[in-house]
């Protein structure tokens, strides 16, 4: 594998409901099956990725769920604890200070603190050599929907600007270097053939490029419907109202796919289509198949 899948940190985002988790899980499965030690991260998402992959729930501790594939659901409190302990090293002091009700209250006020410690955990793993304890060859981060994703990714830059010095700025500095290095990090933007998701993808691509300097590695149009019926086919169906209606509805979806592709081409990144799958419940088999499509297209 080369190209996009060589990036050590893959960020997956898009509008709510477009299939971000499906894409993230497919990618992670594919990377792991290629022998790369892979970490799949969700952000405080209620741990549903594990279920999708047929594993028990994984919480805020990094857990190996199958050969080469580890998972974690980042949670603000657990990440905070881990971060603070890495700084002060004394469990006793942590408990006395950070588990105090009033301190917890103040911490909620601190702009970007929850985001800093969660993103910091991902970046810490990225910083380790792949062979070192806690190190991974690849990290796939299943980000929240557009707005929250931009907030999360914008945290290091915001901190570097707002607080030129101090402990949070130091952390933010190296995180920013990793996030904006196109050799290390790339974002995959997931979209659907509908107006609003495409609007969001375009806005997101612009914000990543101009505001955050994060490389957009690919745009993924999920649930694509390729055209199947031409004019001659439609003509052959005259006098067959049920089939005519079927073809018309199908081709309307195909037209929407074309329209979305047309608009998404304005993003300067490879455009990958994932097919619309009709199954009662997405399972591992579908994720493997989608992973193959992604790997092939992003080679």
């Amino acid at each position: 594998m080369s190209g996009l899948l060589d990036r050590r940190l893959l960020l997956v985002t898009g509008k709510g409901g477009v299939g971000k988790s499906t894409v993230a899980a497919s990618l992670a499965l594919r990377l792991a099956s290629a022998g790369l030690r892979t970490l799949l991260c969700e952000v405080n998402a209620g741990r549903h990725l594990g279920q999708m992959l047929g594993h028990p729930e994984v919480g805020p501790d990094v857990t190996l769920v199958e050969p080469n594939l580890s998972m974690v659901d980042l949670e603000p409190d657990a990440s905070m604890r881990e971060y603070v302990l890495s700084k002060i090293r004394l469990e006793r002091v942590y408990r006395a200070v950070f588990e105090n009700r009033m301190v917890r209250y103040f911490l909620r006020f601190i702009p970007a603190l929850a985001e800093t410690v969660m993103l910091g955990k991902v970046m810490w793993h990225l910083r380790q050599w792949p062979d070192a304890p806690g190190g991974f060859d690849r990290i796939v981060l299943d980000l929240p929907a557009t707005g929250h994703a931009l907030t999360l990714l914008g945290v290091p830059q915001g901190l570097v600007t707002a607080l030129p010095s101090g402990p949070m700025a130091t952390e933010a500095g190296w995180m920013l270097d990793y996030l904006t290095d196109p050799v290390i990090t790339a974002a995959l933007l997931v979209s659907l053939p509908e107006e609003l998701p495409v609007n969001e993808t375009l806005e997101l691509a612009g914000a990543l490029r101009t505001r955050l300097s994060v490389r957009v590695g690919a745009v993924v149009l999920n649930q694509s419907v390729p055209s199947r019926f031409g004019k001659a086919d439609r003509a052959a169906l005259s006098g067959r109202p049920a089939l005519t209606a079927l073809v018309q509805a199908y081709e309307e979806d195909a037209r929407r796919t074309e329209e979305a592709l047309e608009r998404l081409r304005s993003v300067d990144a490879p455009l990958v289509q994932l097919p619309r799958l009709v199954v009662p419940q997405l399972g591992r088999g579908e994720l493997v198949a989608l992973g193959d499509v992604l790997a092939e297209a992003l080679r």
């Binding site: 409901g17 002060i88 601190i110 929240p144 199908y250 929407r256 009709v278």
Partner: protein, 372 residues
Amino acid sequence: MSAPSLEEVLRTRRVLVCVGAGGVGKTTLAAALAMRAAALGRSALVCTIDPARRLANALGLTWLGNAPTEVRPDVLAGAGITLAAPLQAMMLDLKASWDELIERQAPPGQRERILQNRFYQTLSTVLAGSQEYIALERLGQLRERSEVELIVLDTPPTAHALDFLDAPARILDFLDNEAARWLLDPALRASRLSLRLARWGGGVAARTIGRIIGGDTLEELATFLSAVSGMNEGFRQRARSVRALLSSPETGFILVAGASPERREEALGFEAVLGDRGLQRDGVVVNRVQEEPPASAESELAGLEEPLRGTLVRTLAETRALAERDRESVRVLREGMAPAPLIAVPRFSSEIHDLGALWRAGSYLLGEAVIL
């Protein structure tokens, strides 16, 4: 006693809140509900958060107004729609609503200090629940001031269903709890707050926190808290009245769900949350349900040649599989949501962006047309 039909709901409620995950079509259905209420003779306002541009244009919302605008009768007539009462629409600008709230409630000398403070930026944009809070707060304000008989609120997409209903409590807790009161002891002047923080716990606590987040940040926080402290009573009152409005018998919730299995689970989770809080569930709308192709489709295949025939067989099988999946979702949701009425709205062949399409969606909502 059976639950009232959606028509009954549109005739009686004063507020309807459309809830559900992002991307299921809440905005469109909120607009269709308001339009039908107006058709039934009740003046209605649909309050949207982030409508598709074409839908916004169709409703005549060409700029982010943050104030109600009437959907022009001649535009409606152009789409063949005559309403018995006026229909208004507005787009909520959440950030502007926060700024307006501060401008209204803050002591004059403090306004600029608050609006410029970094903590205010967090409070008004990224703090969990703040968007939901301001949407509800604006709803309360509109309900007090607006003459319209029904307000239909489209809600911001929530990552976690709970955020929405807990928003007033969380914001209040944020501004007004034991810790804040301790910090803001009136005997202390603002300039000495950071001193008090520094001394707290013999200085160990403040030093430790300072090592993690920086000492300047603590000081800035103290300044912010003292600036907003005068507003707490105002916030408390507003949050109380918003909570009262949500649980009032005049207010109902419409749960909008998608038909895919993942969306179905989200909807069931949300239903449980509404139920736990004793909120009035007026209906469940499953949007974009695939209709079953007629049985005659298979017999129409006779006499067609390959490869067209094969492609049709495949397309027909996929469509039937999708319809089957959606029918199962509707069945599960109907069971899980009873006794609230469940309404299936079909996938239309194009996105609903014009007034005529909104009207057609409305005919399913009112039971004039039915699938499943």
